[in-house]
Amino acid sequence: MSRVRVVRDYPHPPAKVWRALTEPELIARWGMRVEGFSTELGARFKFYGTPNRAWRGFIECEMLEARAPSRLRYSWVDRDGGSPTYVSWQLEAHAGGTRVTFEHSGFQGLNGFLLATFVMGPGHREKLRRALPALLAALDDHGHAAP
């Protein structure tokens, strides 16, 4: 089993970081469009990206832990019949701001390869830079795609 762990400090209070991690319209601005997101335990929600020949274009998640404003954990299944991996966010007050620890664990078999190759896609940085304004324009006030 392998994992990716990244630690970042932000000059903003945990409550604010918590909002950015749990409000769909804010999640869509730094991450992916999400539907059905809720911090209720057991809530099922989906992140949406661009489908391609090897990826169905969405990720199915289930909320496993949500303690505002310090810990968020959900499962992550990015393909039919795939085994789940797990994403967690840990928030701690630190130096007048917030220390955020992101962890994605449980990679084995094809999980990491598919994630690295298809979910984010090649040239993701450029795509993000170009797509972000368009994505924001395409979202209504609730963070959903306008019809």
């Binding site: 903003h12 804010l26 991450g31 994605h104 078999g109 690295a116």
Partner: protein
Amino acid sequence: MRGMSRSASDDSVFQAIACPTRRRLIDALAAGESNVSELVAALDVTQSAVSQQLSILKSAGLVGERTAGRFRYYRLEAAPLGEIDVWLNRYRAHIERQLDALGQVLDEMPPEPEPPARRAGKRKRS
């Protein structure tokens, strides 16, 4: 000269893993070497489906086989998929960019609505 013995091209790997049944086969083989009847049981699909998909995976260089007694055993040849460290480093770079974007979102968000006692002396501009 383009070495024929090199790992499968990206394109044949894409083709090979574009099919859900083949991805499930790869996952099953990632857990260890298996024979066809074990794979049939693990995936709950017909033997001919397993054999057919295995032959596609073999030609993409993703699966190898060996014979032992009456059985043929299949194993995952992970080389065409690259090393897991490579995938994870690529994913890490992606996460770093997302966390940069999160920082930007935070910078652009208005302050939290629970204002502590306001300071009496605001700083003057000029």
